[in-house]
């Protein structure tokens, strides 16, 4: 056999392999082993002994992933075979890091622990994903209710600003809750928005793309068609004002722009949208103190005035110190000081992982995200139906954009925002939303292959 034929066989292998449920099972088994290894390393490094307690953090998520796998085998056998193991890998890494931070907290005499909670929330989110896969055998039914989804999204987005149940955490009004229970409705809203955009844009595809008068050689859509983009721009700014969170408005507006571009293929929307977004952000930074101080901290984090200011760059700088300490290969799990970074278990888990796993670990984590997003884009690319294309595209993009905004914020590339790191950060709403996205993408990929037949 010549080399040439081997090389030409590779694309076929790539195509064939990830669709195999057996291959998925092997990957889950392997990922689960990585999680066990990480937990063992943490216990050995921090406690010097391995205890049976490790199983509590390892077994339930593995079991939940296996249940999702089993449901896929039964109800969506053609679904993509890489997404579940990849998301599960990230989820377990997050649990391991949170457990490691818990051990540091306990050693310091504190009792703010998150890992056990994260384990059960992960299981819950994965089981919800399994239920979504089981109960929504055809995602096209979602197409029927774009405006319901849109309205629900708006309500969810406004909820945190509502009296009584609304909550402000670290300056951002992103939460609703009573007592112990709290929820970040914006996380779910991003799925509903993607559904809404996909439904709406598919029905208006033609008019948005082709009708309009030429001004200076650029085709400008009719006011009627341009309306929604303006409306949504205002809404995004409204989110920024009400929720005091730059990340959420970047996320929704970005999602909107990419989906309208994908639907129409017109750069005009992206160009106008970006200009509007930047203008909006600059204006907001002039008029709202909280945005301005975020910008200052971002532009000059090491300035001692910013560093010492309440809500200043202290957290960012501590995160950078942590990542720098990790260097290329990291300190090893349990070997660094991620507990020095405020909110290391949630907003700054990326920096905590960067410290202990090093640049190598950061590259791997980013590569996993990129691979996950690309599987989603591939589903979009190969699906024959436009609604499915748009929805898959929007859902994948929203994960990618969120990682970019969060990781970029932690590393000082962008101003810091209140978004969570998908699958890694402690928090139930985020897990629930992202696992639901995975479930939807899996359904779409399954339907893609079925309809191809």
């Amino acid at each position: 056999m010549s080399n040439l034929s081997l090389t030409s066989a590779i694309p076929n292998l790539i195509k064939a392999v990830p669709r195999s449920r057996n291959f998925e099972a092997v990957l889950i088994f392997w990922v689960s082993g990585i999680h066990a290894f990480a937990l063992a390393q943490i216990q050995l490094s921090v406690l010097q002994v391995m205890t049976w307690e490790m199983l509590l953090y390892w077994a339930p998520p593995t079991l939940a992933a296996m249940i999702v796998h089993w449901v896929l085998r039964r109800y969506a056998i053609k679904a993509d075979g890489l997404m579940l193991p990849l998301a599960f890998l990230l989820n377990g890494l997050g649990i391991a890091m949170i457990y490691r931070l818990d051990l540091a907290e306990l050693a310091n005499g504190g009792n703010d622990v998150f890992a056990m909670r994260q384990v059960w929330l992960s299981c819950f989110a994965m089981l919800i994903a399994a239920i979504v896969i089981r109960l929504v055998p055809n995602h096209l039914s979602l197409r029927r209710f774009p405006f319901v989804a849109g309205l629900a999204a708006v309500v969810l987005l406004l909820l945190p600003a509502a009296p009584v149940i609304g909550r402000t955490v670290n300056g951002a009004t992103l939460w609703v809750g009573t007592g112990e229970l709290s929820f970040q409705p914006g996380e779910i809203a991003k799925i509903l928005l993607a559904i809404f955009f996909a439904g709406y844009l598919v029905s208006r595809q033609g008019s948005l793309a082709e009708i309009g008068s030429r001004v200076l050689g650029v085709r400008v859509p009719r006011a009627k068609d341009l309306g929604p983009i303006l409306l949504f721009w205002v809404a995004s700014l409204g989110v920024l004002v009400v929720q005091r969170d730059l990340g959420t408005s970047i996320l929704y507006f970005g999602l909107f722009l990419v989906m309208i571009y994908t639907a129409t293929g017109r750069g005009f929307y992206v160009g106008t949208g970006l200009v509007m977004m930047v203008t909006g952000a600059l204006v907001a930074s002039r008029f709202f103190g909280y945005v301005e101080s975020r910008f200052d901290s971002w532009l000059d984090p090491f300035n001692s005035a910013n560093y010492n200011a309440a809500g200043g760059s202290y957290q960012l700088v501590q995160g950078l110190f942590g990542m720098a300490n990790g260097d290329v290969i990291g300190t090893g799990l349990g070997g660094g000081f991620p507990q020095l970074i405020p909110l290391a278990e949630s907003d700054f888990i990326f920096a905590a992982l960067g410290e202990e796993l090093g640049l190598a670990g950061v590259f791997v984590i980013l590569a996993i995200y990129l691979l996950l997003v690309y599987r989603g884009l591939r589903i979009s690319n190969s699906h024959p139906d436009d609604f499915s294309k748009l929805l898959a595209m929007g859902l994948s993009f929203v994960i990618g954009l969120q990682v970019f905004v969060v990781a970029g914020g932690v590393m000082g590339l962008l101003p810091l925002t209140g978004l969570t790191t998908p699958f890694l950060a402690a928090g139930g709403s985020s897990l629930l939303a992202n696992w639901s996205i995975i479930a939807l993408l899996l359904i779409i990929s399954d339907s893609s292959l079925r309809s191809n037949r």
Binding site: G109, V317, M323, L366, Y369, Y374, L377, F404
Partner: protein, 482 residues
């Protein structure tokens, strides 16, 4: 629509490339700079993860690290303040000093000699333990020196002249290292501020550092050594016995401490002048010798030389470019001559050790946690500044000084003690600096001791070296000869 999807894919790829680039910049290009930022406490935490080695005196730990349940894992504990100037402190929040600093690589297990231990630690997960550092200090002599100095400000240094081993080193006032090694930021910073702002400088080890002292008459040993070594003078060389001496080229006059002549004769020998500690003959001698000869002798004995024992010793100073009058003043240790007590102990040990100065050494051995001896400094000759004969003459003069009574309070019955006192002036109305330096037994010296007491021992210009410093030295010598 697929074209758009592919373009969005490219945009996402570019976003991730930006993230990859940023991570590389932080974790590789800027990592050193970020790690070194003063606001980054990781570097000090890192050293705290290792159980630091103990510091031992005569086989007994005086400093150890106890396991505690917090981020720093171990709390450094100091047994007694009498060792504080030696051990220094190891603080998370305000750095480290003393042996803790000088021997840090061993104590923290980071020295290259512990390479294989570090490899083992990496492989089997057992943490590296710092090496133990054993000091040359004799606890009985150290305690005697501490007690004898009482609550006066000053320092005591004792050396074994044949090896250079430092047997005692006391500096007062001092500090409680436990207050600086604590794990509470606020408490440590407060304690540090208090010590740092204290006008008595308790953080300074006066025996080897700080502002140094005017030596006064103890410097006559250096001048006498220079005279004998020059070949121009002998022990019996005679000087005009004056009541007052006008410094050349000035209207300034020098008197002996007795305010009269040095004994009764028309002339006075070098021997008598040293034994009686007369200023006028030494001023005349210094003028005749000239600054270069005196400085050359002083430098042979260690002046102007950086020394690590392994604590850094502030070099003692013999000034340069002097007028003749100023040279005359340096003859009895005034003007800008500044010395550390350790330097005076080195001068004295040259006399005690037949002309050879052994390098002062504070480290007896360094032993790794696996009981490998990592370091065991052998005695080293630092210099041979004087001949055996000169050493013999100077010894005789110093024994006379004790027997005649000028340094009589250091005398011990049945033992020949060699000694030299000093009562240095600091300013017209300032309290004296009181000195004693000597050794015993004179015929086979086992210990050299130098004592300095600041502020006239609390009695301004009324105290003398013999009255205040000599009894302290006596207590130290007795503890050593017991």
């Amino acid at each position: 629509m697929n074209r758009q999807v592919r373009r969005v894919g490219v945009v996402l790829a570019l976003m991730f490339v930006a993230l990859f680039a940023m991570a590389s910049s932080i974790q590789v290009l800027r990592s050193g700079e970020l790690y070194a930022d003063s606001r980054n406490v990781r570097a000090s935490y890192e050293t705290y993860k290792v159980q630091r080695g103990v510091i031992l005196v005569s086989g007994t730990p005086i400093v150890n690290s106890a396991a505690v349940n917090d981020d720093y894992r171990f709390l450094r504990e100091y047994e007694s303040v009498i060792y504080s100037p030696l051990t220094g402190y190891f603080s998370i929040f305000s750095g480290s000093t003393g042996i803790e600093r000088a021997m840090n690589t061993y104590l923290s297990g980071q020295s290259s000699a512990q390479f294989f231990e570090q490899i083992n630690a990496l492989l089997d997960g057992t943490p590296v333990t710092g090496a133990a550092v054993e000091l040359t200090i004799n606890p009985d002599i150290q305690r005697a020196a501490w007690d004898a100095l009482g609550n006066r400000k000053g320092a005591v240094v004792a050396i074994e002249p044949s090896t250079g081993r430092i047997l005692a080193m006391v500096s007062k006032p001092t500090f409680d290292a436990n207050l600086l090694a604590g794990h509470s930021y606020g408490e440590v910073i407060d304690a540090y501020q208090n010590y740092a702002e204290d006008p008595d400088s308790p953080l300074v080890n006066r025996a080897i550092g700080g502002d140094l002292y005017h030596p006064g008459s103890v410097f006559k040993l250096v001048v006498a050594a220079a005279a004998l070594e020059s070949g121009l003078f002998s022990a019996s060389s005679e000087f005009e016995n004056l009541e007052v001496y006008r410094l050349p080229g000035t209207q300034s006059y020098v008197q002996n401490a007795s305010r009269t002549t040095c004994g009764t004769g028309e002339t006075v020998t070098l021997e008598t002048a040293l034994a009686r500690s007369c200023n006028i003959p030494f001023a005349m001698l210094a003028v005749e010798l000239g600054e270069d000869r005196i400085r050359a002798q002083a430098e042979l004995m260690g002046f102007g030389r950086d020394l690590e024992i392994p604590l850094s010793v502030t070099p003692s100073i013999y000034p340069a470019e002097l007028s003749l009058a100023e040279v005359g003043l340096t003859g009895f240790g005034q003007f800008d001559v500044r010395v550390s007590p350790l330097q005076m102990a080195m001068v004295t040990s040259a006399i005690a050790n037949q002309g050879v100065i052994m390098k002062p050494q504070l480290i007896s051995s360094v032993v790794a946690s696996n009981l490998n001896v990592l370091s065991q400094p052998a005695p080293i000759v630092l210099s041979s500044p004087i001949s055996r004969e000169t050493a013999g003459y100077l010894t005789r003069m110093m024994v006379d000084s004790v027997e005649l009574g000028i340094a009589g309070r250091a005398g011990i019955s049945q033992v020949a003690v060699a000694g030299k006192t000093g009562t240095a002036e600091n300013g017209p109305a300032d309290p004296y600096t009181l000195w004693f330096t000597g050794f015993a037994p004179a015929e086979a010296p086992q210990i050299v001791v130098s004592v300095v007491v600041e502020d006239g021992g609390g009695i301004g210009q009324n105290g003398t070296g013999n009255q205040i410093a000599a009894p302290i030295a006596k207590a130290v010598l007795e503890a050593a000869l017991k």
